[in-house]
Symmetry: D2
Subunit: 131 residues, 4 copies
């Protein structure tokens, strides 16, 4: 219906295939004992900060312009890939369904920030309600 | 209702649908101006730390036992959902293909940590190679 | 000599007194076993993200204006206090001299970013040198 | 040369001197415009994650043994120095008294986690009170 360009139509993620590949990757290196949920959660924070570092000194406008800087965009893509890998790994270890986690949480956030109270404001709901 | 073994076969993620839903969620609240790539990257670090906090005081063993504590597991699932939402949002803003980001990065990591040098060690490759 | 206002002349930090107080605080609550260096490092990331969250949606200009918003400034001060507490705790556990850590590291950073190469640029030195 | 037992009696931090040195360091490099409170807060998260990374794969016991590994201990000290530098920088920009921030916050934490309710537990007070 909508006249999307190809780039706006990303492929679905086959989580099962990604989990399997990741598991084998870890087992091949005998890293299983290091992969506690606690250590994976640490890894997500570490990778998230490497992503953050790319944007650290940029103005808001420059942070959009990364889109046309192929070197920096590749760095962003690599960090995004790392974070996604660790989310997939954690979901595998704790038997969390990523799809369900996404939809459940966004529905909760919709309730927490109702449109009428949230328009154009980013404050926490707890404070919004006192405005 | 669904005839589906969640743990063994997680559903694929329909990224396009998630991106569209997220975009509408943001637009409905007039939050578009706040959603610079820089601010989204900050959000990922903030949510990653909320995930980290859940595991902060746990022993390695306890971090696995979260699997059978439904309350704590729900907290983990909510944070995972938030991080995934922000990854999807960032990929949408910068036109990054999440599937490609995952596979490209895991292939790079495989080269950086070859099985023969990495077995049972977690040190950075740069240091591994000097061992 | 310089005609500083009172607020510009902060008191020296008595690290020993702070370490002692913190140690007693932890022992009184039987928290010693939880205070591994690893867990304290996690705590620093958690508190740093709580600080980050305060600034998440602000423009660069608004991030300065926090100075005149006593409620938000108190939040910042509280997070700064938490991070400093955990730095003091970690330095105590690992026998690190905070004063020496500060001066040693700033001297290294001065060498890594020489004034002539760094003026007005924030890129990493490794990339600066290729400009 | 100095007749001084480092571990038992760390030197007080002369915050004023550190703030002045840091200000000159920034001005010499024309970095003032980049040093918004928002960007400094991002820097603290980035450095905190670099500290976290050192401990990521260590067992609780190994995280104590870093004390006798001079190379790793130096890495920890460098990250601690960076975080302290940024705390000092932020306190300078927002006119926060670090000493006061520490003592105010630890007193609040003492009230939030009273000894009688907190002994040997690390759960948040909000949940403690419902136990």
């Amino acid at each position: 219906m909508e006249n999307f360009e190809k780039s706006s139509d990303p492929s679905p993620l086959n989580i099962k295939e990604m989990q399997e590949y990741s598991r084998r990757f870890i087992e091949d290196r005998d890293w299983t004992e290091f992969h506690t949920p606690k250590n994976i959660a640490m890894g997500i924070s570490v990778e998230a900060a490497e992503l953050l570092e790319i944007f650290q000194w940029l103005t808001p406008e420059q942070s959009f312009q990364i889109k046309s800087n192929s070197g920096e965009l590749q760095r962003v893509s690599d960090e995004v890939g790392d974070i996604l890998h660790l989310l997939i790994r954690l979901s595998s270890l704790l038997n969390i369904d990523l799809k369900q986690a996404f939809w459940e949480k966004i529905k909760k956030t919709e309730k927490k920030y109702p449109i009428s109270l949230s328009k154009g404001k980013t404050a926490k709901y707890s404070r919004l309600s006192h405005d």
